[in-house]
């Protein structure tokens, strides 16, 4: 009973943040104005501001946060490594590079279909798997291999950036920092649909997923095809990360922090995917809100906020004398 309550703890926080995200900004709205903007009757500008600007941005933050939180939880369950996340493993950079390539190869000069990011993430995940010689090995090795691959992909991205005309390069650079500014319904709805499909898949394999915290031989003993399960989980995580990059660019450290906080909330067994996803949504919504109001009228991109706060967090994890936790 209490466990269920603790797992639901992020939900009220998320609702509060969502409300704040609709209210805050220029102009500041009141609760009744938000209601009028959402459901009418209200002035045209009010309805446009709420339903066409703030609401899609909030939904984008939710999609990105849920995706990152779930991807991080899947990867950490998979690698049994609390530092594994799509940004450390280079998956986000792969997705970003795929987007940059789509921009270069597109004769119209527009950013290619955003599912390129998903394709890039999947390819990178397979590549990291091969380079690290299996993702199930405990330890830092897979992380540093991922770091190497991330640098390699970043180099590719930098070269792509250097060959682009300045107008495109500036836009792409801003995207590569990770930002939710100006995300509109067409992107958000498709991404949300894809996210829904991927989360359903997570739900379908949730029983097998819970086994991943057991010893390899025990899992095999239960008649589960371990290699297949691992590959499925890795692909799911990569696709989730790819969706988030397609919407908001690479946003670091959310996928690292969310599973860890989720495990604090329910400290038994593996890392709870759903709890991690909701905490991811809280983190991204909160970081985006903070970026919007902290230095107003200038907007700090959400990727900058998450990097600024996430770096010290990772440092703290590493220098802490004894890493605690189950597993």
């Amino acid at each position: 009973m209490t466990k269920a309550v603790r797992r639901l703890a992020p939900i009220p926080l998320l609702l509060m943040l969502a409300y704040a995200a609709l209210v805050a900004g220029t102009p500041r709205l009141s609760a009744s104005q938000v209601y009028a903007g959402l459901f009418g009757p209200g002035a045209d500008w009010l309805s446009t501001l709420v339903t066409q600007f703030r609401l899609p941005r909030l939904c984008a933050a939710l999609v990105v946060g849920i995706g990152l939180g779930a991807a991080g939880a899947l990867l950490q369950n998979l690698t049994r490594n609390r530092l594994a996340s799509p940004d450390v493993l280079g998956i986000n950079d792969g997705a970003l590079l795929a987007l940059a390539l789509s921009l270069m190869l597109n004769p119209t000069g527009l950013l290619g279909p955003w599912w390129c990011a998903v394709a890039g993430a999947l390819i990178t995940a397979v590549f990291t798997l091969l380079a690290a010689g299996g993702v199930g090995t405990r330890g830092y090795r897979v992380l540093v291999v991922g770091l190497g691959i991330a640098s390699l992909l970043r180099a590719g991205f930098d070269i792509a950036l250097a060959t682009l005309p300045i107008f495109h390069a500036t836009g792409l650079y801003a995207f590569s920092v990770g930002s939710l500014a100006g995300r509109a319904w067409p992107v958000v709805t498709v991404a949300a649909a894809l996210l829904g499909i991927l989360l359903t898949a997570c739900w379908v394999i949730s029983r097998a997923l819970a086994l991943l915290c057991l010893h390899d031989d025990s899992i095999r003993g239960l008649g589960v095809n371990l290699g297949q399960l691992r590959f499925t989980v890795l692909m799911l995580a990569a696709a989730l990360a790819g969706v988030t990059v397609g919407v908001g660019g690479p946003i670091g450290f959310v996928a690292l922090a969310a599973p860890m906080l989720a495990q604090r909330l329910s400290p038994d067994g593996g890392i709870p995917v759903w709890c991690s996803a909701s905490i991811g949504a809280v983190l991204v919504t909160g970081a985006d809100l903070l970026g919007r109001i902290a230095a107003a009228p200038v907007e700090v991109p959400v990727g900058v906020v998450s990097g600024f706060l996430g770096g010290p967090f990772l440092l703290w994890l590493l220098v802490r004398p004894k890493a605690c936790g189950a597993g």
Partner: protein
């Protein structure tokens, strides 16, 4: 068998660097070929165009690349000795990004600053970054996994990088300048920046040579070093100060350049053995050679565009990193309790 091999290297490596330097003068945009540059070098050229291309563009760039390679190669050796970590590199450990943040902060706070101030800001950032690295390396008591330090560097880099990116994005007018500067482009010779940097790097390299004896003793462990009459703590701090000087100056000159401090010492170890006395000069020479080749390929690879030299180096360095991590079984050992 060893002596003739190293004697051969002592002759061949500087020759190789000279050859690359000549190539660096001879290739690139501007329609000036190797015959022209040979004439110019011999003082037999009176063509104003050749004079402009070589004297104003290619020669500063060549000097810059030579100095950067030497500085980063030496910094890599020092940092690896002090942290006892073959993966220690100013880029991976976040010293580069600390220096870059310093410069970005200087530009954001005092727009249009002098070259001296730019170097000062970079030195400040590099000093903070390298002190933090030393503290982190010491925090594990020398028992921690080498990979942990790299991940701590990743954390430091992320924080500094996001702050730098924000500073760049806030002032949209400066974004283009930041972009090229951050990518470590060698293309824009800042005339006022070049000569002070060369002097500072020269000072840093001399100091690094002076640290060879104390650091060789340190490599034996603190107790043995004390028995040999060396004091470990001042040697360590001295090495970190020299690393900060070399890194800060090179970042002020050309932006953060990754992986060079990993590749050059690694090749030097393979060629010249593990003693610091032989590793340091080779690493300096190899660093210069690498930097020159990376600069050349960055000019020729995508012509007429220019590939950022940092990307070229990452293309070599990242696979080396992956290979080193995968090959060395002891590297992958991790302290107990850090897994989930």
């Amino acid at each position: 068998m060893k002596a003739p091999k190293s004697a051969l290297l002592v002759v061949l490596l500087p020759l190789f660097v000279l050859l690359l330097a000549f190539a660096s003068l001879s290739f690139g945009a501007g329609g000036v070929g190797w015959q022209d540059s040979l004439h110019w070098l011999l003082g037999a050229s009176s063509d104003a165009h050749v004079d402009l291309v070589l004297g104003e563009l290619r020669l500063p760039r060549l000097l810059k690349a030579l100095a950067l390679g030497a500085a980063l190669g030496a910094a890599g050796v020092l940092l690896q000795t002090v942290t006892r970590n073959p993966l220690a590199e100013t880029g991976l450990l976040g010293v580069n990004s600390g220096a870059a943040l310093g410069v970005a902060l200087g530009i954001a706070l005092f727009a249009g600053q002098s070259p001296a101030a730019q170097i000062g800001w970079a030195l400040g950032g590099a000093t903070l970054g390298s002190l933090l690295v030393l503290l982190l390396a010491r925090a594990g008591g020398g028992q921690s996994s080498p990979l942990r330090l790299v991940l701590a560097g990743l954390a430091l880099t992320a924080t500094c990088h996001s702050l730098t990116a924000w500073l760049a994005l806030v002032s949209t007018a400066n974004l283009d300048r930041y972009r090229f500067w951050l990518l470590g482009s060698l293309a824009h010779p800042h005339a006022g920046l070049l000569w002070p940097s060369l002097v500072l790097i020269g000072v840093g390299l001399t100091a690094a040579m002076g640290l060879v004896r104390p650091l060789s003793a340190l490599a034996l462990g603190d107790d043995l070093a004390r028995a040999l009459g060396q004091r470990p703590a001042p040697a360590r701090v001295g090495a970190v100060v020299v690393v900060a000087l070399l890194t800060g100056t090179s970042v002020a000159l050309a932006g953060p350049i990754p992986f060079l401090g990993l590749i050059a010492p690694y090749c030097a170890r393979t060629l010249a053995g593990v003693t610091i006395a032989s590793q340091l000069p080779y690493s300096i020479l190899l660093g210069s050679a690498l930097m020159l080749s990376a600069d050349l390929s960055s000019r020729l690879l995508l012509a007429p565009f220019e590939a950022p030299v940092s990307a070229v180096l990452a293309g070599i360095g990242a696979p080396l990193l992956i290979w080193m991590v995968n090959r060395d079984a002891t590297l992958a050992l991790m302290p107990a309790g850090t897994e989930r």
